[in-house]
Every structure is written in C-alpha cells, then in structure tokens.
Symmetry: C2
Subunit: 322 residues, 2 copies
C-alpha cells in the first residue's frame, strides 16, 4: 500500500472515472488502472466497480476514501511542515484554467510573492473537476477559473474576482469578418481554434461548442490561447473564442477582428476557490484576499503578453506535488 496507490484511488473515486483520474495525473489510463489494481489486490476488495454513472464505490471503498484522503493530506502536510521548520518559504500551490494560467497567473504570482516574500508558488493547469478534486484532497491550495460548487461533503468557497467577456475572433480577411448579425448555425462549418481550457466541460467555450453542435472534427485544440489567436489570424483558418480584454492587443493590432454574433461578447466571471477558511492554509487565504485588491484587478486587466506560440510550454496537466 503506497501513497501513490491511495492517491489514484481517491482521485478515481472523486472524479468517477479511471480515464479522468489518469488525465488529471497526466499519465495513461492503464497506469492508473494497474495502480488501482495493485491496491485492490493488496486490500482484497474491488473498492470501485463500474456502474451506470461511472465508477462506484463498494462498501469497503466508501469507508476507505476518507482515510486515504487524510493520509494524502498528511503527506503533503509532512512536507510543508519540514519545509517550514527549516525556515523555507511556505508553498502556495495554484491551479488555473489554461487561459488564466497563460495570461495573468505569472504576473499575479510575481506581485504576490514580492509583497509577501514568505511564500513560493507552483502553478498547474487543470479543469474545473480537477480543481475541485485537488482542492478537496488538499493537493492544491487555491484555484483560479470557473465557479466551483463543492460536492456537498466538503465545502469549497468560490468567489468572483473578475468580470470579463468572451468574444469570437477571426482573421480580418476571413469571409466571416465583415458579416453582420450572423446566425449561430453559420459557425458550425468552420474550424474552432480553442486552447486547452476549451476541453474542460465546464468552461464557457466548451459549453458554447456543445450548444452550437459544432462537430468534433471542427474543434482544434491548440496548446495555448496565444497559439489559437495566431492560428485564427491566418486567412480562413477559422474562429477563435477568446476573453475580450486578453485578446485586446491582437485586436488593436488588427491581426484578428471580432465577429458580430448575437449574444456576444458573452459575459463571464473568473472565480477564485479555496477550502473553507478554517481548513485552508494561511497563505492560500492571503492570496485569495490579494486577488480582490485593486492591484490584482489591474494585473488581470493588463495581461502579460501571451507567450509566443510554441514557446508556451504547456504544463498540459497538473503534476501532483508530493
């Protein structure tokens, strides 16, 4: 019985699927499957079995979850405690959607750690479901992205920190560029150029694609928002959904232009989420408060220039820090 096995188990239990857990951990599905298999054999119980709504816990599995979860948490705490005892800065583990991670997290972290010199940040990219699981397992301290609700058993606090909007952008020379009052159905037979956050089922972009019934082959996932915008700048390459103020620079330079579609720009909110204050780390809490300050708002409005396409090393999926 290793901590890795328990981590796998808990993640599968929380996310309801081996595949999702594998993606969250950034490994292949068989890796998780076999790790889970080892734990099953060791404990002599299937722990999880396929059910109509994903993997469902057996009676033994249900009792194991809280214990395993606590062990994992203590593992992280052990590391943090030793770090602190040695006088090192406490670490702040931040999760963000790929878009936010790309444009605003670096400068936010920069400013925060300068202000609050006693902390050291690591950043990972995750989907909303992963954020929720990781926060609940205390494998991350704070998440930036869509609103998280918690799953009832563990309370998450999610608070809006930025009001912004979504636009659809395309090349100024595209046939869509000049059109007025476009109908949504006209958008289903062009390529959609999205960043990794567009694959998160709870992201506005994903939901938009779903609502419009854009066929899968029309959705191209690029490694970053910057790359998506660069691709959209090519004539007739397709359309790129983007956060208005983050793409403002590209629009000003006229490399892309907004498409006029009813309902756009689509308003949206960025949220910051942590565990309830009494279970959250002091540093996480302090970072969260920082995000509501005007300084942080300024930073989020004036994004660091997106990393040039190809240079943006996609952290792709989060690695666990232990």
């Amino acid at each position: 019985m290793t901590l890795t096995q328990l981590e796998c188990f808990v993640l599968v239990a929380r996310l309801g699927s081996v595949t999702a857990a594998a993606r969250a951990l950034g490994v292949s599905e068989p890796a998780v499957s076999s790790t889970l298999g080892a734990l099953r054999q060791h404990l002599g119980d299937p722990l999880l079995a396929r059910g109509p709504t994903g993997m469902e816990l057996t009676s033994a599995g249900r009792r194991l979850v809280p214990i395993a979860s606590e062990m994992i948490h203590l593992g992280a705490e052990a590391q943090a405690t030793v770090r602190q005892a040695r006088g090192a800065a406490p670490e702040l583990r931040i999760l963000a959607s790929s878009t936010i991670a790309e444009y605003v997290v670096p400068s936010l972290v920069d400013t925060f750690t300068k202000k609050n010199s006693a902390s050291e940040a690591t950043v990972g990219v995750a989907t909303a479901a992963e954020m929720q699981a990781f926060l609940q397992e205390r494998l991350a301290d704070v998440a930036l992205g869509p609103k998280l609700t918690g799953d009832g058993s563990v309370q998450l606090e999610s608070q809006p920190v930025m009001r912004c909007s979504l636009q659809l952008l395309t090349s100024p020379r595209s046939r869509l560029a000049g059109a007025r009052g476009l109908c949504a159905t006209a958008l289903t037979d062009v390529d959609w150029l999205v960043d990794p956050a567009g694959t998160d089922p709870s992201s506005p972009v994903f939901q938009l694609i779903g609502k419009l019934r854009v066929p899968d082959k029309r959705v191209l996932v690029l490694p970053s928002q910057t790359a998506a915008l660069a691709a959209a700048a090519d004539d007739d390459a397709g359309i790129a959904p983007a956060v208005t103020h983050l793409a403002a620079g590209e629009v000003r330079r006229n490399s892309v232009v907004p498409i006029d579609v009813a309902g756009f720009p689509l308003p949206m909110l960025w949220h910051v989420s942590t565990l309830a204050s009494d279970r959250s780390s002091r540093t996480a809490w302090s970072f969260r408060r920082f995000l509501t300050t005007p300084t942080a708002t300024q930073i989020m409005l004036q994004p660091s220039r997106g990393v040039s396409p190809g240079r943006f090393k996609p952290p792709v999926y989060v690695t666990l820090w232990n």
Copy 2:
C-alpha cells in the same frame, strides 16, 4: 516519501537508535540507515542527528514525528477498515516476550478466538522497548510481558495479569546442583543459557546477568526457553534461568533441578499493556479483559508443552503487519 520511510523514521526516533530500529524491524542496520537517508534527502533535512544519548531529533524532525506517526496509524486503519467492511474478522496484533510467546500465547489466543469468534490474531516477539514503540505507533494492539510505562507523550495502560517467579536451573548431575546457599559470585564462571527474552534490557534475566556481572562470553542465547532448558539438562552445560511454573514439568521429570541461591525464586510479574481505553481497539480491550479472567489465569499456569528445541521457529523479531 513512502510509508516505509516514515515508519523507519518514527521507529528510530522512538527507540533512539538506528540499530534498535533495525532489530525491531528484523532487518540489517544499513537497511534502516539508507531508508532514513532517502527520507532525509527527500525532505532536505537530517531529521535526526547523533547526540550523546542516542539519535536526537532536529527541529524539523520533532514536528514530523506526530504527522508520520498518524500516517502510519491511518495506514493500519485503512487495512483494518477494509477488512471489516468485507465482513472479515478484526485482527488482533499481539506482542509478547519470547518466553511468554513460546509457552502461553498460543493457548491464550486459541481460547480467546474460540470464545470471540470475530477476531483473528497474529503474534510477534518483541522487547519491552519495542512493545512500547509499537503500541504507541499503533502497529500492535496489545503487549504481554514486562510492565510498560509509556514515555509521557502517549499514555500506556499496563496491568499485572500473572504473578510468578524466576528460578535458576541446572542439570541434576552438575556440580552446582547439590550446593546449598550459594553465593552469587559462584555463578559468574558458568554458562548462562537464556532465551531471546534474556537479551531484552528490561527483562529480569538481563538485569540479573548485569547485576552479577556475568561476562558476555558466558551468556549463550538459545532460540527458545525450551532449548535453554534442554541445554541445561546436559551435565555441566551451565545454568538456565526460567519461570518456575513454566519449567515445572522439566523439574518434575528431574531433567533439571533448581539451584539454591539466596533471593530465589525471584518474584516477578507479567503485565498486559494497551493504549488507553479510548484509543485502543475494541478487540484489544476485550483481549485484555479476557486475560484477567480465571480461565486465562488457568491457561497461563498450565503452559502448553514447549515446542521441542529446534522445532520452535523463532519469529525472532516482529514483522510489521502492513
């Protein structure tokens, strides 16, 4: 960071020495040393350093102990919980001094599990220091042997369950056999045939040997008390300290005879120890209560015949059950 590493660390911290921890775990000293080294490297702190009174915790190590201890405990609890959820009998992990393990534990366990069919026992041999460490780490549920005091931080409950005495036995044809009113100094130039419990610094036998200043080369550690008595039965092989009522059969058969030394038979007590009732498992508590019943006393007075020498597979040192 593995559970094994944490286990090593905690055990070294509790026992105050790498060597002692290695013995408790039944492995070589370098095994523990290097496992500890791996943890040190992983956490970037020495955790423990040599001090005048054994290994001493660094500040980081001091904070790590309770966390690591809790993780280990949760590991054991995870297994127990899953076992129980599957409907299996809860397990009872018993530690005993080698003498007690040899003569009375098997029948005690037999009777107890028959009475209390919902439990399954495993037995290990340990010294008093190991018993204390294992109980505190909840790596064992109950210990049978000398009185344990606890080390202040964790409270152990130790209760006498058997009043008995220690005799010195030798071959009826030995030159010591007939002597009357022997002086203790006469005993330092014969071989002492002791069982593994005689190597436990807190055992009466060990203390006796120390008080008499018997030279090390005069002390022969045999794999069991039965073996020691068999050896003592040889002419002039030496003397074997033994619990009076356990050796009664051998004495009745005249294969060995008691030596007449002032102060002998030396009274002694067997104790049963557990964690305080609120932290101890139900099964452990129930076993402990069982030991105070007349049934259990009867069993302890009428030992199962010692296993024949050589056939007694010495569990030597306890294995951790996880």
